[in-house]
């Protein structure tokens, strides 16, 4: 029965994805300026014949509904069109830049969870203590903090003044790392290149912290409030009355139930990571998808922007779907 519910959710997501693709397509067509002219800006002087060939190459000479048809058909095949500027398939560019972005997102998630969950639990258990007040004030600050500014301040403090963490990129050129998966942490372990691993982790720290800070704040507040809710329940009172240690009450009885909303929030935070990564990657010169998009925007490379926005939106839809499904599985009370 539960499987049927999950399948139903999946089927609901399909028209949403189709709608997303159509919205992106029309928005990109709304933009002023002829794409061929824009490309010429890069390529220099070109004869009218060549311009026609270009228009044909990008199907700009066809009516709009045919363009949409080809666009959607291409999307089904995993073909996102070709970049105006780089003259490469967008899908390939996205694929090349994806590992850096995913690695950063995982780093951010790890940092967020490591900071937030202990803080959330301790703040709830020691409600109204100094520790609770300070960490909730910190979480409040984290929610209001613009990511790009936080990144800049971290660079100023940790790179410019203290020189403890690098401010830019994933690895210095001097460290030769053979790329296998594109995930530098995994690659350096696979090739046994430990100095590269240390350097990778150092490069990863500040961007991950910047990207994860807002999420950490949200998760800490969420964990605290659901923990407070759970600690008021009768079965917790019973567990205490049975004479269990405080540790057993909190960790074995309360935490499992208190983490249910947290798990869902984590899946939903993927959307925040997607938006935030453009900012964080720009600040830290991180060569991922976000940088690719920001560069494409500045060069008005519409197919690349279009392709990346679709990848972002589809990932977001799937993350929300995942949150829904996780929620059904971890919370036996809920029927979707």
């Amino acid at each position: 029965m539960r499987l049927a519910r999950v399948l139903e959710r999946v089927f609901v997501a399909i028209p949403v994805m189709l709608g997303v693709a159509i919205i992106v397509f029309f928005f990109m067509r709304l933009s002023p300026g002829d794409p061929v002219d824009l490309m010429m800006g890069e390529a220099g002087s070109v004869s009218p014949r060549e311009m026609e060939a270009l228009a044909r190459e990008f199907r700009l000479d066809e009516p709009l509904h045919m363009q949409l048809y080809h666009f959607l058909a291409g999307l089904l095949r995993g073909d996102l069109g070709n970049s105006f500027v780089k003259r490469k398939p967008v899908a390939r560019l996205v694929r090349e830049h994806l590992p850096a972005t995913v690695e950063l997102a995982i780093g951010a998630l790890v940092i967020a969870l490591v900071i937030a969950i202990p803080i959330g639990i301790i703040s709830a258990v020691k409600q109204h203590s100094i520790l609770d007040r300070v960490s909730m004030a910190g979480a409040f600050l984290g929610i209001s903090m613009p990511a790009f500014w936080m990144g800049i301040v971290l660079i100023l403090v940790f790179s410019v003044y203290w020189h403890v963490f690098p401010s830019h990129g994933r690895l210095p050129f001097a460290v030769g790392l053979k790329t296998i998966t594109g995930f530098y942490t995994i690659d350096s372990i696979l090739t046994g290149n430990w100095s590269a691993l240390a350097s990778t982790l150092k490069h990863l720290f500040l961007p991950s912290l910047t990207l994860g800070a807002g999420t950490a704040a949200t998760i800490a507040r969420m964990t605290r409030s659901s923990m407070l809710e759970v600690l008021r329940q009768d079965y917790i009172v019973l567990a205490r009355a049975k004479g269990l240690t405080e540790y057993a009450v909190v960790v074995k009885h309360a935490l499992r139930n208190a983490l249910i909303p947290t798990v869902t929030i984590v899946a939903l935070q993927i959307g925040t990571f997607l938006g935030g990564n453009m900012i964080v990657e720009t600040v830290f010169g991180w060569p991922g998808l976000g940088r690719l998009v920001v560069d494409a925007i500045q060069r008005r490379d519409f197919p690349l922007v279009q392709g990346a926005v679709i990848v972002y939106a589809l990932t977001f839809v799937m993350a929300n779907l995942l949150a829904d499904i996780i929620y059904t599985f971890v919370n036996p009370k809920i029927e979707l």
Partner: protein
Amino acid sequence: MKVNETNVHLAQLPTTDRSPLQQHLYLLGIKLRLQRQNLGNFFRQLKRHPTAMVGAIVVVLYILMAIFAPLLVPHDPFTGILGNRILPPKWYEGGRPEYLLGCDELGRDLLSRIIYGARVSISVGLISVTVSTVIGVTAGIAAGYYRGLFDEIFSRFADLLLAFPFLIFALGVMVATGPGFWNLIFALCFKGWVEFFRLARGETLSEKTKEYVEAAKASGQGHLTIMLSEIMPNIIHSVIVLGTLRMGSLIITEASLSFLGLGVGTRIPAWGSMISSGRQYMMNAWWISTLPGMALLLLVLSINLLGEGLRDILDPRLKID
């Protein structure tokens, strides 16, 4: 005042002789009088909530700063003096007393530019939150009240827009329309109304089944009157809370877009673009990026403090602990 005068005349007419509009104005008059009493009560509660009060005061100061920016600035924020390039703040070695926060990479007074930057953030925040609220709440109440095809269309469209992360959607719209003040508002509102729509629709669905709405229907009130004078006052508190909290994130989104070069344009000083252009000078002039960011952080922090305070006062159901 006008409404109250009309009220006196309307009260003398028998209920059946009033047109729907007159009936509406009559009820609005009664409500305004009730609200004036509620407002006093509200301010008393706000005073007992110190963080919300601090937030409110800071936000008001920012708004005043934005309005009176031309009178407040010590120097011209648009034209720089070449000799003042990356001049440090006053308290630093080499700083000059007449330039309190120093100058930027083009020799323009940083304090003056920060004061002017408030104009963009405050006006974009206020306008986009107002437009989003009006569109979202109107459509939401109507969708929740009438249901049917109208609800179906708006709800599906809202679902579609929710499939985009906010910043990415706004970014896509800005790429399509190009930088500019109204384009920015458009980009923020295009998706911003959805949350208000969902809130208003959900609340209307639950309010609609309550006795007081049934009573209003039985007493022969029109649909428009029921929506405006029965349902609306009961959901407006949640809307105000959501609106305040959303304003903070809209301002951050605006600053993020400006940071990426897709804001109001390069001519107008905006905090996001100031932070972005100061980045290249981080090694020897930290103040160019950092100080506008502090102005932004303080504003967003105050708005959120006010928002959470309002939530505790107006909508205690949503309180976190």
